[in-house]
Every structure is written in C-alpha cells, then in structure tokens.
C-alpha cells in the first residue's frame, strides 16, 4: 500500500463504546477487544473490523455514521478519548489514522452530546437541527437567471477567499460537541458570514441572520461564551472571527431591519 510503513506492527486495543438501542433507551459503555489492527487503517476501518467480529459472534454491530470517508461530508462524528474527532487537529474521524494510537491503548468512543442532537442509536446522532437552521435562511433565493459572465460581479480576492473559508464548513457538528455550552454559534456564523461577505447574499442579509439565530435558539443550542473549543476542534479550521461577524450582523439586522416582530 502506498505510504504504508512495513515496520508498523499490528495493534491490539481495548474499546469502550457507547451502546444505546434507540432514542428512548438508556445507553451504557461496553468494552470490546480488537486485535491485529494495522496502523495504516483509518479509525472507521478499525470500527469496521470490530463490527465484522460482532457479526461473526452474532452480536449487533455498532451503529456509527459515515459516508464519503474522505473528510468532506461531515457525517463520521465520534467523540474519541474526550475529543471531537479524536486527538488529531484539523481532521474528521474518517481521516484519523490508527498510527495516532499505540498497541495496548484503551480508546473511549462516544456520540456527540447535545440535547439538540439526540442519539438515534449507539454512536449515531440526529443532526437535523442543523438542517432546520440552514432552512431558516442559510441560502440565497433570488433568481439568478441564466449563467452570468465570469467576473461580471467584481469581488475582491481577499473577500472571496474569506467567504470561501467560511463556506468550507462541512456541518459535522464538532463545534457543538466540543463546546461546554453545546452552542452551534460557529456553525451558524460560518454560513452567515459566508453569505454576508458576498454581494449575492446581501438581498436577504438581514432576514437571514435574524431567522437563523431564532431557529438556533429554538433548537435549544447553548449560547456562546467565547471559550474557543469549537474553533480548536473544527476539522476545517472555521475561525472565531466568524462569530464576531455573526454578532455584528445580528445587531445591525435587529437595529435596522423592517421586521417588527
């Protein structure tokens, strides 16, 4: 395998995994042993090995979410050894490799914890609260007509870069999971500032921030106290600057929009 280390020894690990039948049942941590794990495996491949074992033994496999396995879909959300997406900075769980662990390690694996992200089963949580926040305003609904000419709308490179950075949010929810307050502010701020920076976003600028923040509050997420865990754990590096932009946008919208309710 390209990039594999022929000297890397397979590892034996103890996993402490959160098992929960469904939304309404009580869950608990269950211990499992996995053997002969290659350091070149991704964390999810290691869980695949565990699940094969469980199937062979006639036990229920561990439910966990995953899709792209290349760091872009934001579904592989696991709280690993007390950290969102595990110990490595700037990675999703699917991009985390077993070489970050050592033979004999005990690894605790839990689902995201937030009342707004109820556990569906085992390690899989329901993040539809994020979808509802986006539906409240995280889009541009003006009719753009046919394909416009390139460069018809001038946008300075610096601004388009910053908007792009904000747009890289993959909606994983690590910010909520890591935050002491289970606040969704980093996620919301990424979308609000992305669209506030671009001229296409200006038409709905005020209603967007008002509606998205109202939905965020309604979903029961906590309020930001600028702790900074979110940005430190965000796999794509969304910065706290976006939250300051969100606060500015919110104040400006509340002070000047025509919305009286």
């Amino acid at each position: 395998m390209a990039g594999s280390n022929p000297n890397a020894k397979p590892m034996n690990l103890t996993l402490k995994v959160w098992r929960q039948k469904n939304r309404n049942s009580e869950g608990k941590i269950v211990d499992y042993q996995v053997k002969d794990i290659s350091p070149d495996m991704s964390f999810l491949e290691m869980l695949d090995v565990l699940n094969e074992d469980l199937l062979h033994r006639g036990e229920e496999p561990v439910a966990f979410d995953h899709d792209c396995r290349e760091g872009i879909c934001g579904s592989c959300n696991l709280f690993i050894n007390g950290r969102a997406h595990g110990p490595e900075k700037g990675t999703t769980t699917c991009q985390l490799h077993m070489r970050k662990f050592s033979d004999g390690d005990t690894i605790t694996i839990e689902p995201w914890r937030a009342n707004s992200f109820p556990v569906n089963k085992d390690l899989s949580v329901d993040r539809s609260a994020f979808d509802r926040i986006i539906q409240a305003g995280g889009y541009i609904s003006i009719n753009t007509g046919g394909t416009p000419d390139a460069n018809e709308i001038p946008i300075p490179k610096e601004i388009s870069d910053r908007a792009f950075e904000a747009a890289t949010c993959i909606g994983c929810g690590a910010c909520v999971a890591a935050c002491k307050n289970a606040s969704a502010m980093l996620f919301v701020s990424a979308k609000v500032s992305q669209l506030a920076l671009l001229p296409q976003g200006h038409v709905e600028r005020k209603s967007r921030v008002e509606n998205m923040v109202a939905q965020m509050d309604k979903e029961g997420f906590g309020a930001c106290t600028n702790i900074g865990s979110c940005a430190a754990e965000c796999p794509v590096g969304i910065s706290l600057e976006n939250i300051a932009i969100l606060n500015r946008e919110f104040l400006a919208a509340k002070a000047t929009s025509n919305n009286l309710s």
């Binding site: 289970a182 104040l251 919305n259």
Partner: protein, 245 residues
C-alpha cells in the same frame, strides 16, 4: 413580544448585555482602585475619609451609584440566565472529556468565578458600604465618618484578608477571559487591533486585581492596629508618600 424584547431575550442579545455591563464594570474597577489608593497615605486616614465622604454624599456620584447597581444587576441576571440555558443544552455529559486540550480553564468557568466574586461582593458591601452609608461610624478629626479605622480593623482579620485575596484571584481570572471576550461578543474584532485588545486585557486583569489585593495584604502584614506602617516598611511608605505629595 416587541422586536426590542425579542432581541434582548435571544442568545446573542443576552450576550451583548453581559458584554456591555462587563466592560462598564471594568471601568468602575478603575475608579474604585484609584480612589482606594488613598488608603496608603500615612495620615491616619484623613484623606481616605475625605474621599469616602465625597463618594457617599456627592449627588452626581450618588446618581452613578444607581447605574452601577443596575450594571451589576443586569450582568449577574443575564449571565446566570445564559448559564442555565447552557447547562440545559447538554443533559447527558461525556464519560471522557478533555476540554483542557482545546480551551482555557477560566474560559470554561466564568459562572464559578462570577459566583465567587458575587459572594465576596455581598460580604464586602455589607462590611464597608452598608456600614458607611447606614451604620454608625465614629467621626474622625475632620468630623467625617471614620471608615478608615473600619478598613484597618477589617484588614487585620485573617479570614477577611483571605476572602479578599481569593476574590481578587477569581476576578483576575474572570477578566483574563472576560475582557477580550466582551470585545468578541460585541463584534469588535479586527486582525490589526484584536491582538492589542488581548494584551491590554491581560495587563488590565493583572494590574487591577493585584492593586486591590495589595491593600488587605499590606494592612495585615505591614501595619499595626492603627494602620501605621511597621518600622521595617515605614521608610519606604514615607518616601512614596513624599514622592506623591
């Protein structure tokens, strides 16, 4: 609900109130600290009593006092409302959570630090403010209430000094996070100026809290029962007094 009450009952709206009142309280700390420096005058408290008489009777100061009360009231009410909301946002916690690897202790413990400050504040207000304003204090040589003597005797009680110093440590940590955090909440960030705001915040927290903490420590360790410096520090205190004349 009108748009105003809706704005200020939203999560961001409440945060903004906490930030504005927090910075307002910081400005109060500066005034309070500078005024209290009169305690170091080696004049049997004459200057300090003149100052506290002025603070207790001047109509402008008395009006501002209500603003201060409101500032504290809103700060405490709104921050604890947010804290309750945030506690309710995660009712099942993690078995293993290493938040110390992604954030600072003081940032995660603002409510604990604030509560320590609040307890101190109640004791402090009762002991000095309540007794100066509503109690009976003996007059000093200018016929001003002799608050100075009360301060000196309080600062000779070990538990009072300990509470004072603990509260200042808590306030320092509260501000190490709070000062810069308030600017972030208000959206006052800029790539050029934010590093300076952070540096000023750190310096402010340490200087102001050390300044308050030195007062009880000085009286406890370096003065006699009348507040006169003991012989080992008397020359130093005298020369500072002389230099400031």
């Amino acid at each position: 609900m009108s748009w105003i009450s809706k704005t200020f009952s939203s999560s961001i709206g409440r945060k903004i109130i906490v930030a504005i009142t927090g910075l307002f309280l910081c400005s109060f700390l500066v005034v309070h600290l500078i005024g209290n420096l009169q305690l170091f005058k080696n004049d049997d408290g004459v200057a300090f009593n003149i100052y506290s008489h002025f603070m207790g009777t001047n109509p402008l100061i008395r009006t501002l006092e209500w603003g201060l009360l409101l500032g504290f009231g809103f700060h405490i009410y709104e921050s604890l409302t947010l804290w309750r909301r945030n506690q309710a946002a995660r009712s099942v916690g993690y078995v293993s959570n290493h938040s110390e690897q992604n954030s600072k202790w003081q940032s995660r413990n603002m409510a604990l630090l604030g509560t320590i400050i609040l307890i101190f504040l109640l004791v402090h207000l009762y002991n000095f403010f309540y007794r100066a304003r509503f109690g009976e204090l003996d007059p000093d040589i200018n016929n001003n209430d002799d608050l100075y003597t009360l301060v000196v005797s309080s600062f000779h009680q070990w538990w009072y000094v300990a509470l004072y110093v603990l509260a200042q440590v808590a306030l320092c940590y509260h501000l190490l996070h709070g000062f810069k955090s308030a600017f972030q909440t208000l959206g006052l960030t800029h790539r050029k100026y934010t590093p300076a705001i952070q540096a000023i915040g750190y310096a402010f927290s340490i200087i102001v809290c050390a300044g308050f903490a030195i007062m009880p420590l000085y009286f406890f360790f370096f003065t006699n029962g009348q507040g006169e410096p003991i012989s080992s520090v008397a020359p130093l205190v005298d020369s500072i007094n002389l230099a400031l004349k």
